[in-house]
Amino acid sequence: MSTETVSVAPRPRSGATRANSSRQNKNHDGGTRPLRPGRNRLSREGGFASAFTVNALLVLGCAYMVLPVLWLFFAATKDTADLYGTPAYSLGRFAFLGNIGAVIGQDGGIFFRWMANSVLYAAFGAVLGGLISVMAGYAFDKFTFRGKKTWFGLVLLGVLIPNTATVLPMYLLASVFGITNTVWAVLIPVLCNPFGVYLARVYSSSYVPDETLEAARVDGAGPIRSFFSLGLPMMMPGFITIALFQFVGVWNNFMLPLVMLQDQQLLPVSVGISIWQGYSVPQPEFSPMVITASLLSVIPLLLAFILLQRFWKSGLTAGSVK
């Protein structure tokens, strides 16, 4: 995998042309009437390309994406009778607060414990795992050393092996050391993020100019000091992006905690809710509680995604961020 083939690579230069081109683009968007008479004829000829069809298809695609999430919001406000008795996208008796009460009351309020566990595991993986990845990516970009290609090849191999393929092996090894069913069984694996290293290398090469480091060296700063006082601050957007993606990855992780943890008090919210879902299948009266718990567990992530839009987009688009 060479850097050219990767779309997520930040490309400041193309970002500059992009800014120009989007401005240029806006001119075309400005009015429904295209600038060139020739285009007008063509777009009328190819009816598909008409503004209406394009936007209608976009709305349709978005409806497919949004409606299931919207269903969760509607369903969380209903009691069992209305959930099964009223149309999905209508309001029944407002039972949302009662449902929240049911979530809080279930199994002695363990839901909040699960949420706290998820926050702990995800934040730990994001911050410490992110730092470890950024350090390694920076080293691969800025230093020359023997066997660099081989070491980086190992990182790429790590990217290519799916997480779930190593979960059972990790469990088998962890049981030798007797650390299954402890937080360490979840915390250690989430520090390993080969893709983060790969991204960090790309970020380092585009955000941290070699000249700046050279100047710092001339001024007498050692490599560690230049990393923490120059390299890391310059890579901050990249660090936040890597951390954000790792946070989401750990929050969403299901197989690892499912395999590693048996103690209910240690579970993250993903595994906890899946246990409750198991209750609700034979006993539908649990459904409103399970649905409301799902909604509560999704809200922090939805908020993070909407508020941190700039960062996750920069993780994928990178080029447009200065």
């Binding site: 995998m1 060479s2 850097t3 050219e4 083939t5 779309s7 042309t17 968007d29 429904t32 295209p34 020739g38 190819g46 598909f48 390309a49 008409s50 978005c62 497919y64 994406m65 299931p68 999430v69 369903a75 350090m135 080293a139 691969f140 800025k142 230093f143 020359t144 050393f145 790590g158 290519l160 092996i161 799916p162 997480n163 059972l168 092996p169 469990y171 088998l172 090894l173 520090l191 390993c192 290293v197 090469s205 070699d210 480091l213 060296r217 490599p223 969403n252 299901f254 993903s270 899946s274 879902q277 459904s287 567990s297 999704v298 992530l301 909407i306 996750w312 987009k313 994928l316 688009t317």
Partner: protein, 301 residues
């Protein structure tokens, strides 16, 4: 990347090590050691001694575990199901993402920012919750989808043995399309506008421009997406294990990952579970290598 400062090449080795040790430390503990240990484990088996009294003993059995895994009809069945899943999922998801990204990049598209946010929304929903939402959306009595279809005179049971695979594909398509739309849309945005302008002057319509100019230029991005999609599909575990609680059509050995989990926790055969994990990892690494080779050849051509 070509130019490096002189400063870093001198004492590079030792300094680089300082930065790399934390990562390769966790890499060794969380990836290499588990795989090596499983490899060892996969060559052994617990055998009943003598008449079945006196407990079990561990014996070296060579490749026996691997032979047994491949002879297991549930495992090969799961492998076939996973292959079928890939064959339906990858074209649907990638095709949908390309189409949506091209539409979003069409000059007449409106409210691009809002569309991008909405299309990305499912990705903020954890896999467990996504599967749970869809499990309800597939359940008659609750589902507006089933109801709407019944209104149109169509009776479908999304969770029966025939439809459950496409139903799970749909969950994955819902989760991942938007994510890839954003990547492809970004790639489209960096297509030089001058080229499109020139094409327009030459009389190429929107669709022509999309198919013969934009599409070839996003092929590199597309090949990366396909690579990560292939790796992702082999991980299939969360969705079927959630859906399996709602229907008997998804068995406890439905896909290879579930099979390995079942071997470890229900059948208590850790050696077979280790062998199955090694097979899955090798399969994944092999497939990703093949995709990388193929796409780099495509990009050169």
């Amino acid at each position: 990347m070509a130019r490096k400062t002189r400063s870093t090449s001198g004492t590079g080795g030792r300094t680089a090590a300082l930065f790399l040790v934390p990562f390769f430390g966790v890499f060794a503990v969380a990836m290499v050691a588990p795989v090596v240990y499983s490899l060892v484990l996969s060559f052994y088996a617990q055998q009943k001694s003598g008449l079945g009294f006196g407990g079990t003993k561990t014996a070296f059995v060579g490749l026996d575990n691997y032979v047994q895994v491949f002879q297991s009809e549930t495992f090969t069945g799961g492998l076939g199901r996973l292959a079928l899943y890939c064959l339906i999922y990858i074209p649907c998801m990638v095709g949908g993402a390309v189409a949506f990204a091209l539409l979003l990049d069409a000059t007449v598209a409106r409210a691009r920012k809002l569309f991008q946010l909405l299309v990305f929304l499912p990705h903020a929903v954890p896999g467990v919750i996504a599967a749970l939402i869809w499990a309800y959306l597939y359940t008659p009595g609750v589902s507006p989808l089933v109801q709407a279809l019944q209104g149109g005179g169509i009776q479908l049971n999304f969770l029966d043995a025939h439809l459950v695979l496409p139903s799970i594909v749909n969950i994955a398509v819902w989760e991942w399309t938007g994510y890839n739309v954003i990547i492809l849309f970004t790639a489209l945005q960096s297509v030089p506008r001058e080229i499109l302008e020139a094409a327009r002057v030459d009389g190429a319509g929107e669709i022509r421009a999309a198919l013969s100019i934009k599409f070839p230029l996003i092929l590199p991005a597309l090949s990366v997406i396909i690579l990560f999609t292939v790796i992702g599909t082999l991980q299939l575990f969360t969705e079927p294990s959630i859906i399996s609680k709602a229907t008997a059509s998804v068995t406890s050995t439905w896909v290879p990952n579930l099979w390995a989990y079942d071997a470890a926790f229900n059948r208590h055969n850790l050696n077979q579970a280790a062998a199955a994990s090694i097979i899955i990892a090798l399969l994944a690494a092999g497939l990703s290598l093949a995709v990388t080779r193929f796409s780099s050849r495509m990009n050169k051509a």
